[in-house]
């Protein structure tokens, strides 16, 4: 009995004797590593411009209910800058939190975390970045911020390629929160907060 068990274990081990041969195979087969397919940012020998990622042909639009002229996509209502968020975007805490993370990633390098135009890049670079806390920008319609992010302004490039429209609206809403935080009417604050304002901390 014992003998047969030992024999079967031995047989099992012997059956695995081919395993070391895999070591020989490892170095040879790379055809599955580099399959004939394109991944993002690959170089292409097929397309004349050498890119695997082809820009969409002119006038391409997504499917579904996409409307390039809607307030959501343009920041404008009948040609005028929208003074409200488009109906698809709801102002809530999640939108502002999302806007904050986008603002801090994309805008803060130049405009500063506070929005005063004192970002790290602005500090180093040879340019003057306007503050968001000026009367002109506090009174412009909210669509203005969407429009600037989408199309750029002055020396600022368009961020349309990097920030999707929904995120642009979130940033615009967060800019309003930033503006409020730096210019709050003390009538809106509680007694305790007023004390802290006076104490300056």
């Amino acid at each position: 009995m014992k003998y047969s068990i030992r024999q079967s274990i031995l047989a099992r081990v012997v059956r695995l004797a081919w395993l070391p041969l895999c070591l020989v195979l490892v170095a040879c087969h790379v055809d599955m590593y580099d399959q004939p397919k394109y991944k993002p940012n690959d170089v292409s020998n097929f397309f004349p411009d050498g890119r695997a990622m082809q820009p969409p042909p002119a006038n391409t639009v997504p499917l579904n209910s996409y409307n390039p002229n809607s307030p959501l996509m343009t920041g404008r209502v009948e040609g005028q800058l929208a003074d409200q968020l488009p109906p698809e975007i709801k102002l809530d805490a999640a939108l502002l939190a999302h806007g904050q993370s986008r603002y801090n990633a994309f805008c803060a390098p130049c405009h500063g975390l506070v929005g005063d135009g004192q970002g790290v890049i602005a500090y180093r670079g040879p340019m003057t970045v306007p503050s968001l806390h000026q009367d002109r920008l506090r009174t412009v319609p909210i669509g203005y911020f969407f429009d600037v992010i989408t199309n750029g302004i002055g020396r600022m490039y368009s961020y349309a390629a990097r920030i999707p429209p929904e995120d642009r609206w979130a940033i615009a809403a967060y800019i309003r929160a930033l503006q409020l935080s730096q210019n709050t009417d003390v009538a809106l604050l509680s007694e305790a907060e007023l004390e802290r304002v006076k104490a300056g901390r």
């Binding site: 070591l23 180093r124 390629a161």
Partner: protein
């Protein structure tokens, strides 16, 4: 007396040869495994020359630019998103506008010819890695990319062996962090206790029943 065919030390030579043969085979295999694990093969920590000597250390650590400023699709797509020339130019149309190091970028912006960078991480084509799900579930950039904010020229931080992937898929609580710290390069995993991290795993609904180690999770 019959003549001796083999000299007196033949036995010793035979034994030594046997021993040497075994050691040669073992040594060769050990050397191959060692080579396979070493930076000579894996390129870990070996910086590659690039058309523009871009420094993550300067842009991330010193200029405090968020990862997403350039790798904009990392939260939405499988691919982190390699910045377009336009992204470089959104600052470098103002800053270092005459630097010869950036000539390649300016030419690319004018002609539309892409800058061809050298890929650092080349995952095998049968692995379908998705950045966005890892970001969404609280795995930070530095968990895999190391302290890229300390590197001048980018280099691999991980050889990307499957065992390494599985290590985290088996025990995500060893690497998880709060979502808002994902892009924090200086985050230390041990700043949360194991219990807190296990709580995060539960909160982010990361399956711990072994589903994450199924083949089809990464291979399709």
């Amino acid at each position: 007396m019959s003549a001796q065919i083999f000299p007196r030390n033949a036995n010793a030579i035979f034994l030594a040869s046997l021993f040497g043969l075994v050691m040669l085979i073992v040594g060769t295999i050990a050397a191959m495994v060692g080579f396979y694990l070493s930076p000579w093969y894996t390129d870990v920590g070996v910086a590659k020359a690039q058309p523009v000597p871009f420094s993550h250390k300067h842009h991330v650590s010193e200029l405090k630019i968020d990862c997403r400023y350039c790798h904009a699709t990392v939260e939405k797509a499988a691919h982190a998103g390699f910045p377009a020339t336009e992204t470089c130019m959104s600052c470098h149309s103002q800053v270092w506008t005459t630097s010869p190091l950036l000539e390649v970028v300016r030419t690319s912006y004018q002609t539309g010819e892409p800058v061809v960078w050298n890929r650092i991480y080349d995952l095998p084509d049968f692995v379908y890695f998705n950045h966005s799900i890892h970001i969404a579930k609280g795995i930070g950039c530095s968990s895999c990319h190391g302290r890229i904010d300390q590197q001048q020229l980018a280099a691999k931080a991980q050889p990307l062996y499957m065992g390494w992937c599985l290590g985290c898929h088996r025990a995500p609580e060893d690497h998880i962090r709060p979502r808002e710290e994902v892009f924090n390069m200086e985050w230390d995993v041990n700043s949360l206790s194991l219990a807190e991290r296990q709580q995060l795993v539960k909160e982010y609904q990361i399956p711990t029943d072994g589903r994450l180690t199924n083949c089809f999770v990464c291979h399709r």
